[in-house]
């Protein structure tokens, strides 16, 4: 696959798949058809050039392939073809207005991708499976990338996705919009998925660069849409604020030569003040509502970071107390790790190591940031030998070359 086509794939495959699932109501059919359309594009586009609207081209081609396949397979029910006819007629210029009512029913959530998120976040699926499925179908992540985000082996993740799709299929799950009463219940899984897409974009699993900005901006786009559609959900607002505040530091995260710069060493003047302003406004709106949740607290932590003119000026005691609140709402080893790093800034590296020691090491043994943070604290506390060993484990685990360079330099500096 050529690079420009790869870009189209990254930006359009999720949208196209979501639209095809709406039209045909069949996940596998939609996925196969979109894959076929990209295969046709890979063959034709190098000769003809990329069409002006590549996403539209892929959607139309995939739709036609899917119809061909439905016609070939006599076992497929008439229902699929009938639903397809409905949708294409309403899309044609001379469409019949009475059909719009059907679309009104379906289009409670305006965005196809968001609709699919809620559909995938079905309560009959385990939360992990819901999130994995959403990422696979909408984030267009490779299974290996989803596995990294979940800190599980790739084979485990592949099986989880297949099982989730199979369960929805075998159970005749409808690809309809959840009723208003169900929407907020399904929100938690949707929020987790959007945030995972964001974090994958923040530090890409593979590729030459540290970040995959297309994923980050896609997650922010979905977060914005979600916040618009569910303005009463404080956690949706909190998630958007968290992503915007994290994103504000993006320009400062890499030096001119593409190497990684730690938060403590970042040039605050390179932070995006517009994003910080928008993020702060959203955090304040959340605080006024006083319905605290994990994403809102993480956004508040990011807001405290953004407030500081320099790393030294950061209000670490406020950050630690916010992490304490967060641990009460949602206790997990990654949050405990981040808290330890803040404790180290407040009470010194020995305090940070003591906080780190409270985490079960087995729970984070395959998590690169754990070993990198531990190595840094060990080095600062004067335990050189142990620090080298921890950096080596972190280097072993990282799959991002820019991150690897950073870790190698840190180890060499000891």
């Amino acid at each position: 696959m050529t690079d420009p086509l790869d870009e189209v794939f990254r930006s359009e495959a999720g949208r196209c798949t979501a639209t095809l699932i709406r039209v045909f109501g069949d996940i596998d059919l939609a996925e196969d058809a979109v894959a076929e359309a990209f295969a046709i594009a890979a063959e034709g586009w190098p000769k003809t050039g990329i069409p002006p609207n590549p996403g539209g081209w892929i959607t139309t081609t995939a739709r036609n392939r899917a119809i061909d396949r439905l016609r070939r397979e006599s076992t497929r029910s008439e229902r699929h073809l009938a639903s397809h006819r409905l949708h294409t007629e309403s899309m044609e210029p001379d469409h019949k207005p009475e059909l719009d009512r059907l679309d009104d029913f379906v289009d409670v959530v305006a965005d196809d991708q968001l609709r699919l998120m809620f559909l995938c976040a079905h309560p009959a699926l385990a939360v992990d499976a819901q999130v994995a499925l959403i990422l696979r179908l909408l984030g267009c992540l490779e299974t290996s990338e989803i596995a990294k985000a979940f800190v599980v082996p790739e084979a485990t993740m592949a099986q989880r996705i297949v099982r989730a799709k199979r369960k929805l299929h075998d159970n005749h799950a409808s690809y309809r919009i959840p009723r208003a009463a169900e929407l907020s219940d399904r929100l938690a899984a949707v929020l987790a998925a959007i945030y995972l897409i964001y974090t994958e974009g923040h530090t890409a699993t593979s590729g030459r660069t540290l970040m995959r900005t297309d994923l980050s901006s896609e997650a922010i786009r979905l977060g914005r849409t979600l916040a618009e559609l569910m303005p009463d959900e404080s956690e949706a607002i909190g998630l958007l604020a968290l992503m915007l505040l994290t994103e504000s530091r993006r320009p400062a995260r890499t030096a001119a030569d593409g190497t990684m710069v730690r938060l403590a060493d970042q040039d605050c003047t390179r932070w995006d003040r517009d994003l910080i302003g928008e993020g702060h406004e959203l955090v304040r709106a959340c605080l006024r509502r006083n319905q605290p949740g994990p994403f809102q607290i993480q956004a508040a932590i990011a807001a405290v970071y953004a407030d500081a003119a320099t790393a030294e000026a950061t209000d670490w005691s406020q950050i630690v107390s916010l992490y304490d609140q967060l641990s009460v709402l949602r206790s997990n080893p990654v949050i405990a790790l981040n808290r330890s790093v803040a404790v180290a800034e407040l009470h010194g590296p020995a305090g940070g190591l003591a906080a780190l020691a409270e985490i079960d090491p087995a729970s984070l043994d395959n998590y690169q940031p754990y070993h990198a943070a531990r190595a840094d604290l060990l080095a600062r506390a004067g335990h050189q030998q142990e620090a080298v060993a921890a950096y080596e484990r972190a280097i072993e685990l990282t799959t991002n070359p820019v991150e690897r360079d950073f870790l190698v330099r840190q180890r060499a500096a000891l």
């Binding site: 079905h122 309560p123 009959a124 929805l168 075998d170 159970n171 005749h172 799950a173 409808s174 309809r176």
Partner: protein, 115 residues
């Protein structure tokens, strides 16, 4: 229309004494739920089962038939009864299951039938 098995699960030692007020309340609730299923056209069939200790496992291999006493799965939790229902989709089946769980005051499992 898709069919779903809604099974009722409880402790293996569960034994109903139909003379108790609790059992009579459950029976009335389940009876009302059955009627609701029939009125909605969702009913296929249903049964409450005798305790798992009444079960016999039968195996056939190359013409040889063997029988063993007791339920197939030696687990603490056993199926105590079930409904076979018809529903338009999973969400509709889950709605029926929620009513079934309330009627029998215990957990139920929803499983789609093939075909």
């Amino acid at each position: 229309m898709p069919q779903y098995l809604i099974s009722v699960w409880h402790d293996d030692t569960f034994e109903v004494d139909f003379t108790t007020p609790d059992a009579q309340r459950l029976a009335a609730q389940v009876g009302a739920f059955n009627e609701e299923l029939m009125e909605a056209g969702a009913w296929v069939f249903a049964a409450g089962l005798h305790p798992a200790a009444s079960a016999t496992v039968v195996r056939s291999s190359g013409g040889d038939v063997s029988m063993t006493d007791g339920p197939y799965a030696e687990t603490k939790e056993q199926m105590g009864g079930f409904w076979m229902i018809e529903a338009v989709d999973l969400d509709a089946a889950l709605e029926w299951a929620a009513k079934g769980a309330a009627a029998c005051e215990g957990p139920v499992e929803v499983r789609p039938a093939q075909g």
